[in-house]
Amino acid sequence: MKNLNTLLAGIFLAVALPFGALVISSQVQLGSLGRAPAEDGGPLFPSREPGLAIQGRAVYVSLGCVSCHTQQVRPAGQGSDIARGYGTRPSVARDYSQQKQVLLGDRRIGPDLANYGARAKDLGGVHAAIQHNGQFAFLYSGAKQDVPSERAIALAAYLQSLRQDYSSPEAKLKQ
């Protein structure tokens, strides 16, 4: 405790070891995850993100939507996510492998959005949801606040692109 070098070495290890063991080793384990078919010859999932969805995510991030919305479905037995209809299966790491920025979130003031694209009925419904009863009216114009701005269009495309309704090697959909 009297020797600064011993103290600093210990503290360095206290920071570096968890970093190596938690962060670097999960990068080793998960870093190479990519698109994969659920069974041989099947289609590859998750789909690549459309360009408009990538723009939409920038809007999602900029408005701080992550303060109120998560994007992760927990397995059955931990909470009621699947029973609540947030998803048909638990989220797995591969679902996020195509996303440049992963917004899991840790607070649900609003519903989970991991599988929103699959349960959204039509584009009108998505825009109604984005408006939040008029709180986000600034994304719309027109007399009835029904003309979406470019940002609202991109955001809607992003929300519609959020889907976890396919089978992947780690999480098969129940038939």
Partner: protein, 481 residues
Amino acid sequence: MTQENRSGRPQGRPPEGDSRLTRTEAQLRGPFLLFFVSAVIWLLAASVLGLIAALQQGSIDAGPFRGCEVLTYGHIAAAQRNLFVYGWGFNAFFALNLWLLSQLGRFELRNDWLATLGGAVWNIALTYGVIQIFGGNQTGFGLLEFPREVGPILAVAFLLAGFWPIVAFARRPTGHTFASQWFVVGASFAFPLAYLLAQLLVLWQPASGVVQAIAHSWFVSNLLLLWFGASALAAVYYFLPKVLGRTISGYYLAPVGFWTFFLFAGWTGPSSLIGAPVPLWLQSMGVVAGAMLMVPVIITAINFHGTLSSEGGWSRAWNDTTLRFVSFGAVAFTLFGVLNAAFGFRGTNAVVRFTSFAAGQEQLLVYAFATMVLFGAAYFVLPRLTGSLWPSAKLVHVHFWATALGTVASSIALLVGGYESGKQLADASVSLQQVAKAGSSWNLTLVVSAVLLLVGHCAFALNAFGMILKSSAPVSAGRHD
């Protein structure tokens, strides 16, 4: 009392200081006041934003500033948390850590302009970052929300402003060291490491997929426990024995407490990812680390509460402004540790996950513990540095009662409210709207407590700024030395 009569000084007790302003203190007065004044200004700004956030919370259509883009909840919440943590918490601990280690190591800060420069850069970068958040330029990762160009600037500013405690430790004249010194050195060294690594892997060269979330959770645990927690523990270890004039009970345990705290705190991050799409072994590591963190929590509890419990310590603490705040914080830390362990397990965590419970735990740590300790420290240090008394005893009372009641009320509202809504959410037949409606009574408590905190902070700011202005008036100039 002479300065050199401490050869036979018992362990577990900081050295007796001079009651007058010492040369070491006079030298750090400039940077200390810069850090302190900016900290209080950020605290006021954060509490105004906290009030707005409380008004908006839990209601998607009510609340003021409806339809105003700049003041959407996503902006307010991010700006509030960052201002509180980086504006108030960091500036205040820059000041306190520097003062503590100068006192304990009799360190003369000769290059005070470097610390001042660091403080100026830190606050300018922070202002820029917060303006960017309101302008819609944020990253989406909690406590790393500032646009990525701010990160390296804050890191450099930290090295200029926050690294002096380590220099003070290296240059101390005596071989003996005290618990506060280890914790401050640890905090000052661990934070910049964690911050730079997190900046790199989350913002500059983002790791792939969910590894971003893992790196982020690792960073947040480091920031909250190893910077806030360790810095505030250092202050408790100093002020309790100092003001009570006795040794820490069970002080021989303190080194174990220190090493176990630093050993386990860094692994607790993934406990905020339970149920998330990350490997199960990783979640289990977080759970285990959270439980192991009980070891340092118990040791600090023995050290702090043991010291307070002997010979009427509690009543003396109650009657001393500094100790009243500091022992409030010490109790809050123990409570935080117990809750952290109890709600770290998979079963209990599944109930409170995604509710306000985690915010309640953070409130316990950064407010009820760290901030209350900082307030107590200010009541001890500022009169020494400015050479004048607190202008108003009434404002001190307002400050204590408003902040104490405010933080108790908001912690209870976030924790109990979070637990209740978690229980309801577990039943899928209860809709999200019904849960929000059932929890709306807690929203009123949150608004009231935000008002209380704001009132308390205004009282504190008035008192402190009044004192600083009075002491810099020409009449009292040059009174020392």
